[in-house]
Amino acid sequence: MATIANDFTINIATANGTGSQSANLILLQSLFEMGIPVSGKNMFPSNISGLPTWYIVRLSDLGYQAPGDRTHIQVLVNPATWDEDLESLETGSVVIWNSDAKKEMNREDIISYPVPMSSLARKINPKIAKLVTNIVYVGILAEMLGIDQAALESALSKQFKGKEKAIGLNITALGLGRDYFKDNLSKEDPYVVEGRELDTAKFFIDGNEATALGCHFGGVQMLAWYPITPSSGIAEAIIEYIPQIRTNDEGEATCAVIQAEDELAAAGMVIGAGWAGGRGMTATSGPGISLMQEFIGLAYFAEVPSVFWDVNRVGPSTGLPTRTQQSDITMLYEGSHGDTQHIVLIPGTVEECFEFGWRAMDYSERFQTPVFGLSDLDLGMNRWACEGFTYPEQDMDRGKVVRDRDVFEAFEDFGRYLDVDGDGIPYRTLPGSGMDPVLYRGTGHNTKGVYSEKPQDYVALMSRLKNKINGARELLPAPLLREEIECEVGVIYIGSMENTIQEIDDILEATGLKVSQCRVRALPFSNQVAEFIRRHETTIVLEINRDGQLWGILRKELPNDLVTKVHSVAYSDGQPPRARIYSDLIMAKLEEVEQ
């Protein structure tokens, strides 16, 4: 039988709260340590214990990181989803199933590996049999696929960081799994793993932790947060790193953390910190941003630096709290009532999560305005390969703050909202400085910050704000272009779609369609985006939502002659993007456009 190496998808069906996540991460990490390009997706429920969870491991020498079109190897532990999981498998798939689960194996057209996982686990320790069951299936997979024992043990020691007892117990359980496969089953499937030599060393990290580190290297001074999935990991990692990288020898911190009573208060605290001259931030998800809208308008109008990270989950309303989507784009870009426009940074990799973490603080102080980081559950909560983080190449940009009385006195005329330099960005002084004391307000104001309802004051203020944000277009992270001259079709996309785009591109190319790519990394759009559209006959805007939000914003801002050239492909079912779905939709859209 011909073998299939490093090109298959494993789906592990367990129940939440049984410890399967540790076992799955050990499996993932061990494959990663063998140098195999691998990705893991945790499909977990909004629940602490008992509801179905799936973990999808994709191995791909081509570097594909989406879950893939189908499952090749199914691990069945959870009786609750047994029938459904089994039914969805294609003929020839492998099923490793817990024969103690009192469920039927009714498929004849699959390769069946029954394993009494629960009894094996009970042998080790009946009290924690449920936990051990998970590591037993990792042992089975290890034997069946040929995973290095050394890689497994290294992954184990990373997972349990020095807890020798846990490591020992898990090594025993792995061995039981391996032995059971050797002694009782014979390999009938073609799937194997092969170690690869990597050009560069890499490690696994999730986007939330990378963002948190980025914020620290941006010198965040105050984090105010309210727990919400899938963003809590950012706040928790910020807190976790403070003792290590943000305290002095006396153990005193340079970053305050306040767990707020709700998202409204968190936003208020961020704005208070920004008003006082500090770097404040919060991390939340769509429902939190909805609650923060009023404050976001205040920060825009009163021009207060403030950083908001949104780890997008499925909306509207509570939606699917543990599933991924790109559906907060419009809400961030045009957040709050009245005419507003905000800077949004959209990382697509963990390296960018780090980079945009510190850059967000710089942009916010430079432009004296709220800045959003838009991540999503897929990028934020799943682990991705990372080559390492790059130290900020520039000093912190604190923007136009007048701290020195001599500088202040040198101004011919000073007004908090006076556009001295023509870039729409005024100068500010800080509370406590005694210079230009001003009462910040969310009401209409003139260049001195004094209440005004005069039409000319309002129009001047609103135009200046527009100019100010427009001025950011070419200073924000530029779009990343992958372009070949002969391509007639361009694809514009954002964020974590980065991890699926190569596979989409390859599927399209296999049908004879070559496309250029443009990954937008910030709003407002760089003018390069319009130029990209101009260079192509047709451009698809690809996004993980229903309504084509990015496409909508683009249409509003493009010159008329380009508007008809951009078409939307937007789809979201809560699952991480699968390449085949989007490539099919792109082809259907192109056909529709041609007609």
Binding site: A201, F203, H216, F217, G218, G219, Q221, M222, A224, I245, N248, G251, E252, A253, T254, C255, A256, V257, I258, E261, D262, L264, A265, A266, A267, G268, M269, V270, I271, G272, A273, G274, W275, A276, G277, G278, R279, G280, E294, F295, L298, A302, W358, C386, G388, F389, Y391, R398, L430, P431, G432, S433, G434, P437, V438, L439, Y440, R441, G442, T443
Partner: protein, 351 residues
């Protein structure tokens, strides 16, 4: 050409930091003539001046409403933030976390604090944010033209409409139950008492709530209103005469009356002297404070004075575990971890 007549020399009184009172005033008020809030603004000006606080070291914070407009009318040399409705406490909390060295002077109203902002008020008290919180309480929404607020007393009737039948929220009782470290009630018409309380609150480290009954002359100053000037004047149960004794030579001598008094020493060494009027009230006893509130309430009266005080509670900044200087004064080189730290992190991830 004859010389212009000289203006006669004027004696300008200076405070301990050699500032005239003018350094503490603000712009002209746009509130209704006779508004209680303007009296409170004047008290704030006098208290800050007499306490000798550098005007630029004060941060004026407010929410939305008539009361929240007043920061424009006092302390023109201080920065301020007129934020959003009911959310001044969170903005103050964030500012305080990064700059603990300012005196945060919050002004709010009953619409702002007893309804939309009650959650933020509660949590600011819970955290013991170091701030003065003056609640200008008139029982009605003024800017939207006279709807009842959540502090309107049962049976009280505003100028237009029917009497209020909804149970009011007593924010002083709430604050005492929450363990607020400084809780006082006063009346905008009792300038002396109010000034002593504001000065004491400014010397207090921790959250100081002063609920000031401040009649709305336009919508709620009729005889049937329990928050009208006339009613409050006639039904004010004063717990004690309060005198503020600064931690340095006072500008004027304090008269020490005969009878009992109690001195409460504040965090900066100044003292608030409470001279007993009738029965002695013990402001360190939360139950006594609540009893005084309930007793007054039962007779539809307003009890004023320093209701409750606890000088032992740590304020929020002590809980945050921060470096000694205010965070905004920490140099950027200490805010951003070094290149070596990042190299170490990268290496640790790879190992």
């Amino acid at each position: 050409m004859s010389e212009a007549p000289k203006r006669p020399a004027k004696v300008i009184k200076l405070n301990v930091i050699n500032e005239p009172k003018d350094s503490y005033t603000g712009g002209p008020s746009s509130l209704c003539p006779g508004c209680g809030h303007d009296q409170i603004s004047n008290v704030i000006i006098a208290a800050a001046w007499e306490n000798g606080i550098e005007p630029h070291r004060i941060a004026k914070m407010s929410g939305i409403g008539c009361s929240s407009k007043t920061p424009a009318y006092y302390l023109g040399q201080s920065h301020g933030f007129n934020t959003v409705h009911g959310r001044m406490p969170s903005v103050t909390t964030g500012a305080y976390a990064v700059n603990k060295d300012l005196l945060y002077l919050g002004v709010s109203g009953d619409g702002d604090s007893a309804s939309i902002g009650i959650g933020q008020l509660i949590h600011a008290i819970r955290r013991n944010v170091d701030m003065v919180y003056i609640l200008e309480n008139n029982g009605v929404y003024g800017l939207t033209k006279g709807q009842y607020s959540a502090t309107a007393d049962i049976g009280s009737k505003k100028k237009k409409g029917t009497p209020n039948e909804t149970q009011p929220i007593d924010l002083c009782a709430l604050a005492i139950n929450l363990g607020c470290s400084f809780v006082a009630r006063s009346f905008s018409g009792s300038k002396k008492q109010l000034k002593s309380l504001v000065k004491a609150a400014m010397s207090h480290k921790g959250f100081a709530l002063i609920d000031v009954i401040s009649p709305c002359v336009t919508f709620n100053n009729n005889d049937e209103s329990l928050k009208s000037y006339g009613y409050v004047k006639d039904n004010n149960v004063t717990l004690h005469v309060a005198d503020y004794i600064p931690n340095r030579a006072p500008m004027e001598e304090i008269e020490v009356p005969e009878g009992h008094y109690r001195d409460i020493t504040l965090h900066d060494g100044s003292v608030i002297r409470l001279e007993t009027i009738s029965e002695e009230h013990d402001p360190t006893n939360a139950v006594a404070a609540l009893s005084a509130l309930h007793a007054a309430d039962a007779e539809s009266k307003h009890v004023t004075g320093l209701l409750y005080f606890d000088g032992t509670k740590p304020s929020l900044i002590e809980d945050l575990g921060l470096v000694e200087s205010a965070l905004i004064d920490v140099p950027e080189s200490e805010l951003r971890p070094s290149r070596e730290i990042l190299d170490k992190l990268n290496a640790a991830f790879l190992s």
